[in-house]
Every structure is written in C-alpha cells, then in structure tokens.
C-alpha cells in the first residue's frame, strides 16, 4: 500500500526524464540568432485540431518550428499551469486556457504577456476578445474557438413518442425553456424509460450562460444568493421529480454509457460537443442537430491561447499564436475537429459554412452553429471565482439528482461551500 510513494517516485522519475528531454531538445532561446530555428512549444488539451496546421507551418518556415504538447483534459492542463505559474518556470511558450477559467487567469494577468496588436482589432467576435482582455485593457488571450449551442436530439425516439422528427419542425417547438421542458414532459409520459435530457448539470450550465451575473457582481463580489441563480436551481431540481433528467453526473461512466442505452433524447450541444456525442453514441442511429436553443442563444466554452511572461521567446510565441488563431487556420481546425471558430471572417468561410455532419443525419452543422453564434446576446459576467463556484453548484445539483439530499438542504450546503471557498 505504498502507492503514494510510488506515485511520487514515478513523478520524480518523470520529472527527471522530462527535464532530460527538455534540455536535450532545449537550447530554446539560445538559438534566436542565425544559428538555427527557434522552437516554440504549444500546450493544448482535448482536441484543438492543430496537427495538420503545425505541419503546414513547420514546412513553410525555417526560422521558427512549432512543437505541440498535448494533454487529455483541461483539468490536467490546469494543474500543470497553476503549479508552473507558481514555480515561475517550466511552462510552454504558448499555453491554451479553457474559456470558463479565463477570468481566474485574468486576475493573474501579470504572469502573461500583453498580446495587444492593433492589426488584429476586429479579428474576433467582440465578446470573445473582451473575455481575453484584463482590467487594464491588455489582451492576454487570443481566442481559438467558441461554443455556440444548438440542440442535439434523437429523431428515432422522437418518432416513438409521436413527436415531429424534422429538424426545422423540432426547432419550432423549443423556443423557450418552458416550451422545451413542457415538450419533455410529453415525451417522458410516452417513453417512460428514457429521460428528456442528458444531465441536470448540462442544462443548468446552458441556462446559466444566459444569466448576466450568475455568481458574482461586476465588481467581483460573490453573490450566489440571487434570484436568477435560484430560479435556475429551482427549475432544474424541480425537473428531477418529473423524470426529465437522467440524474447522472455529466462526463461520468454512467453518463457515457447512457448514450448506448437510450438514456435520454436531447442535449445542449456546443460545437465541440458534437464530436463527444459521436464518440459516445458510436453505432447508435437517429441523432440529429436542430438550429434552435431555448431562451435564445447560448455559448458554452471555447478556449484561448496565451503567452506566459516567463517564456524566453515571447515575440516568436506571439507570432505563432496570432497565426494559429487567424480565421483561415481556425476554419481548418473546425474541419478537423469541429471546434467552431471565434473569428468573424471564419464564420463566412466555405469550410465552415458548407460543413455537414454525416452522423447527425447530414445536418448542416457549419450553418447551424453560425446561426447559433449570432443568436448569442448575453455574455454572463464571470469573475475570478467563477469556476470554483460552478463546481460547487454542479455538486449541489448532483446531490438532488442522486437522492442524497432534498433541494433545500442541498442549496443550503451550496451556500456554505461557497462561503468556505475563502
């Protein structure tokens, strides 16, 4: 039972190895003169769709070479990022940051280089550029993708419940959250073994992304005891008894398995989720994608590229980040992995507009997501504690889902949790 020590040993061996590797292929920074190319490392998580772009760049340049460092999830990337920010060294030249974590990063913006460049003004959707800008007006993150949301649904299960299955007709039935939930009640009455949506957490997150100040006021005061948040909480927990929710934790094993077991009929789908659905529902027939989102538009997720100030090749790194987040490159990344571009010009590019997805019954995903992006009106205010509070909120919903507490008990515990965040 010495797994902790073993873990530590493994870690130190790993650290030693990676140090060795770093110094082996290192010399970065030393070689910024004429004696060889500068290597710029780009740290990403999940799938950014950069592999082919990097090959293209490396083939065309002999002064700069890009090297990608990939990890599985944002959580892993975050742990690494915070640890090395604290240490003051060891980060890649370019670090990708997940959108919801950006406010916390902005609070530490001194640790990142100012990427402001007048030539890039107007490259991104306004709200995306704003989300990468700190309080002093320094742009520290170049937007990569955004997460405009549509509704993924199972046409075959809709048919079983006697509901319309055509994309446009379905879109007409879910204009508001009330319509969406009412339709869900019809559905679960007809198909009792299947829930209406994938998880309480997913729906709550979609609803929160339409609230102006979900957890914090504009001056970063934590204010979770507010009417908007309580309304979302009450609605979502109220739906649990009606059988609308699978009552599963989003991203958990049971949630993944529910795709294969007709667990639910609809879910909130940002662009990057299409790939997740396709992976989890492999072999399942009947998925489709509707050009609608209850309550208007909503954006969930999307990332940024930042350049840590501790790096030695800030100038070259900035150039690479600017190139990777240019409209034409992000359009190619969308074709590769479905990450929907945050660049204004990319939204009109044929690669994006004419994209369709065979798994979703050949839905014109490019066109739908572009429409969904335009429908986004509210950008919730997210302060430095946003992602910490969101975790506590998700846990509160789950306590009601899994039956360990009543909605009231769980709400009180959520307030205590937020209090204890310190």
């Amino acid at each position: 039972m010495r797994h902790w020590q073993n873990g530590r040993l493994a870690l130190s061996v790993l650290a030693a190895l990676s140090l060795g590797v770093m110094t082996a292929c290192g010399g970065d920074g030393e070689a910024s003169d004429a004696d060889g190319p500068v290597t710029i490392s780009v740290a990403t998580f999940n799938e950014f769709g950069y592999e082919e772009l990097i090959e293209e760049f490396n083939a065309s340049r002999d002064d700069i070479q890009i090297e990608q460092v990939k990890v599985g999830t944002w959580d892993d990337a975050k742990a690494n990022l915070y640890t090395k920010l604290a240490a003051g060294s060891g980060l890649s030249d370019i670090e990708a940051i997940e959108g919801d974590a950006m406010p916390a990063i902005l609070a530490e913006s001194d640790a990142f280089a100012d990427l402001t460049d007048p030539e890039l003004d107007g490259r991104w959707l306004d709200w995306k550029a704003e989300a990468g800008t700190d309080a002093d007006g320094r742009l520290i993150g170049y937007g990569t993708d955004i997460g405009p949301e549509g509704i993924c649904y199972r046409a075959d299960l809709f048919e079983k419940a006697g509901l319309p299955t055509d994309r446009a007709e379905v879109a007409g039935l879910m204009g508001t959250w009330d319509d969406y939930f009412a339709l869900g009640e019809d559905f679960v009455a007809k198909v009792p073994d299947t829930a209406w949506y994938d998880s309480s957490g997913g729906v709550a997150q979609a609803m929160l992304n339409q609230v102006e100040n979900p957890f914090e006021t504009d001056d970063n005061t934590v204010a979770v005891d507010n009417a908007d948040l309580k309304a979302v909480y009450d609605t979502v927990t109220g739906n649990v008894e009606k059988g609308l929710s699978t009552r599963l934790a989003q991203w958990g094993d049971d949630w993944v398995a529910s795709f294969q077991n007709d667990g639910f009929a609809t879910m909130a789908c940002p662009g990057w989720m299409l790939g997740v659905v396709e992976g989890n529902a492999e072999g399942v027939q009947g998925w489709d994608f509707a050009d609608v989102f209850p309550g208007g538009g909503g954006n969930w997720g999307g990332s940024f590229l930042t350049v840590p100030a501790q790096g030695e090749n800030i100038e070259e790194a900035t150039e690479v980040a600017a190139w990777l987040t240019a409209p034409e490159q992000q359009a190619k990344a969308f074709a590769a992995k479905g990450t929907f571009p945050s660049q204004v010009e990319a939204l009109d590019s044929p690669e994006v507009n004419e994209a369709s997805n065979a798994f979703f019954n050949d839905a014109p995903v490019g066109e739908i997501l572009a429409n969904r992006a335009e429908a986004v009106t509210v950008q919730p205010y997210k302060g430095p504690k946003y992602s910490d509070i969101l975790q506590a909120f998700q846990a509160a919903l789950l306590r009601v889902d899994d039956g360990s507490q009543s909605p009231d008990e769980s709400w009180d515990q959520f307030l205590t949790d937020v209090e204890a965040l310190g």
Partner: protein, 325 residues
C-alpha cells in the same frame, strides 16, 4: 585503531624526527572509523532533501497566508489550522479515510497471510502461481480505477446488473457512503493483496522446516502448525506490513479520485468518499490556497504517526493474532 608509537617495541621505534604514524596507516584508521558513515550517508542526505526539508518547509508554509500563484503572504500563526478544523468537510473526510483504510488494510493482511500459506505448500507449478498473484500490482492504478469504476457504475455497471440478475436491488456505489468505501477498498485490495502475500511468503520460506517436523511429530495438523508455528515466526514481517500499509492506506488518493464522476472530483456529490489527501489537493490546487493545504498535510502527518504508534503498541501488547500469550 593504529597503535601509538609509544606502545611499539623499542627495536621498532621510528626516528624521533617523525613521531607520527605513516600516512597509509593513518588513512586506513580514518577509513575504518568513518567509512560506515559515508556508506549510509547517501540515504540520509537524500532523505534530508526529499523528506525532512519538505516536512519543515510545509510547516513554514502552513503558518502563512500562501497563495499558489501569489506566493508567500503574511504570517497568520495557527489560523490555517483553525480554518481547516472548522471546515465542515475535514472531519467527514477524515472519517472516510479511516473507514477506507480499515476496509482495505484488515482484509488485505488476513487474505495475504492465507494466500502466502497456500503458496508455501507443495503446489505444482509453484513459480507460476507465485508470479501470477503479483499481476494486479503491475497494472497501473489508473487503469484499475477506470475498469473498477465502470464495474461499479450505479446504473449501467456490471456489478449492479449481476445483483439485478439474482433479484437484488442495485447498490448506489457512488452515492451511498459505505458502499463507495467498499468499492474503493476493493480496488486497493486488488492491487496490494498479492504484493503483501509475496512479502509474507518470503518470511514463511525463512521459517526453519524442522519446526514443522517437530510439530507434526507432536500431532499438530496443518491448521495448528499454521497458527502455532508460522504466525509467531513471521511476526516481524507482520509488523512491517501493517505499518507500511497504514502509512499508505491513510494517504489513499488515486483510487477515490478516479472513482469520482463529479466535475470537481472531490469525492462524490457530498464528499461521500473524499479522503484527506483529496482535501489537500482541493485546498492547494483547486482553491489555490497552499496555506490551508499545508496545514492539512501536517495534520495528516501527525495522524499517521499516531496510527503507526497505536499499531506498534497493539502489536506489542497482544502479539499478532494471539500467537503468544
């Protein structure tokens, strides 16, 4: 020790101009006196660097406001310790830790001893059997957690489907506090039982065979031989295994963290199976407060010391499994 010149016979007296023993002699005496220390030094130097220094430094961090990103803040005395002790989850996660530890360590030691005794007999293909019980230990704990996590799925997990097959209700492995501890202890046991069994086996191999022969002559059966010869003879190994599994068991982290399906990964929706090390991680790397994380780490250190001493005391007091009155 080199003899002093005064003690030498007169015939062999060195010239008065050089009363000191020759260089080589002094070197060898110096060698004899100090070499043992040099041989053991690497361990202590290494321990000082990676064991003692972090321990002391953690104590230093724990009495300050210390943000992961902002670095050292002001001195706050024992405030961090007070904050942790009043945190509603500290007591709960301490109880979880002890509960998971007991559910894993106790059955583990018992099963490991029995397994070792079975392997110590004249089996055919002994080596194959002995190697095969170590297999689970070779598999990475992450892989184990992923596989067991899907076995213990609340809704679509294999275990619940089997239970349903024989007409029992499904168990909510991720919701019910005790059930989640059992599931996690199962993973820990799966990994470590074989490892400990091999250590016990090595100890059993060292028991003189003539003791068994005399016991057999006195009419002791297999079970009686095991209780009266084997167990008392492997007591030192027993102490070693119990202490080391206490140290490891109270630091359980990977299994519960990977068993968790919530986004926060703090050990279930209501921290049903959050452990103390997970609380340290939560404070330090999710809430970015190294002060509270260090305070928690120090308390865990003290708790482990207390448990190890208690173990030692109990083992001394009662002998192992009543082997000696």
């Amino acid at each position: 020790m080199s003899p002093s010149p005064a003690a030498l016979p007169a015939a062999e007296l060195t010239p008065v101009t050089n009363p000191r023993p020759p260089w080589r002699q002094r070197l060898s005496s110096w060698d004899v006196r100090t070499a043992p220390y040099l041989y053991i030094a690497p361990f202590f130097v290494l321990f000082g660097l990676v064991g003692l220094f972090p321990l002391v430094y953690t104590a230093w961090v724990s009495v300050h406001d210390w943000s992961l990103l902002g670095g050292q803040g002001e001195y706050v005395g024992l405030q961090n310790f007070r904050d942790v002790l009043t945190n509603p989850y500290f007591a709960k996660q301490l109880v979880n830790t002890v509960s998971i530890f007991l559910l894993s360590s106790v059955p583990q030691v018992v099963i490991a001893v029995v397994l070792a005794a079975l392997l110590d007999s004249n089996l055919r293909g002994r080596t194959v059997w002995r190697m095969s019980i170590l297999l689970p230990f070779v598999v990475s704990p992450v892989a184990v957690a992923i596989i067991f996590g899907s076995l213990f799925g609340d809704r679509y997990g294999l275990v619940n489907q089997l239970l349903g097959g024989i007409g029992l209700d499904p168990v909510l492995w991720h919701v019910d506090r005790f059930a989640s501890h059992v599931a996690i202890a199962t993973m820990v046991n799966w990994r470590w039982t074989g490892y400990n069994a091999l250590i016990f086996l090595a100890a059993m191999q060292a028991v003189p065979r003539d003791l068994y022969e005399s016991a057999a002559l006195d009419g002791a059966g297999r079970v009686r031989q095991f209780l009266s010869v084997t167990l008392p003879m492997i007591r030192p190994t027993m102490v070693f295994v119990i202490i080391t599994s206490t140290i490891g068991g109270l630091q359980v982290f990977a299994e519960p963290r990977l068993f968790d399906e919530t986004t926060a990964r703090n050990g279930g929706s209501d921290r049903q199976f959050g452990t103390i090390t997970m609380l340290i991680y939560d404070f330090g790397w999710q809430l970015r407060d190294l002060g509270r994380a260090s305070a928690t780490a120090w308390m865990l250190f003290l708790i482990i010391c207390a448990f190890a001493l208690l173990n030692l005391f109990l083992l001394r007091r009662f002998g192992v499994l009543g082997g000696e009155r």
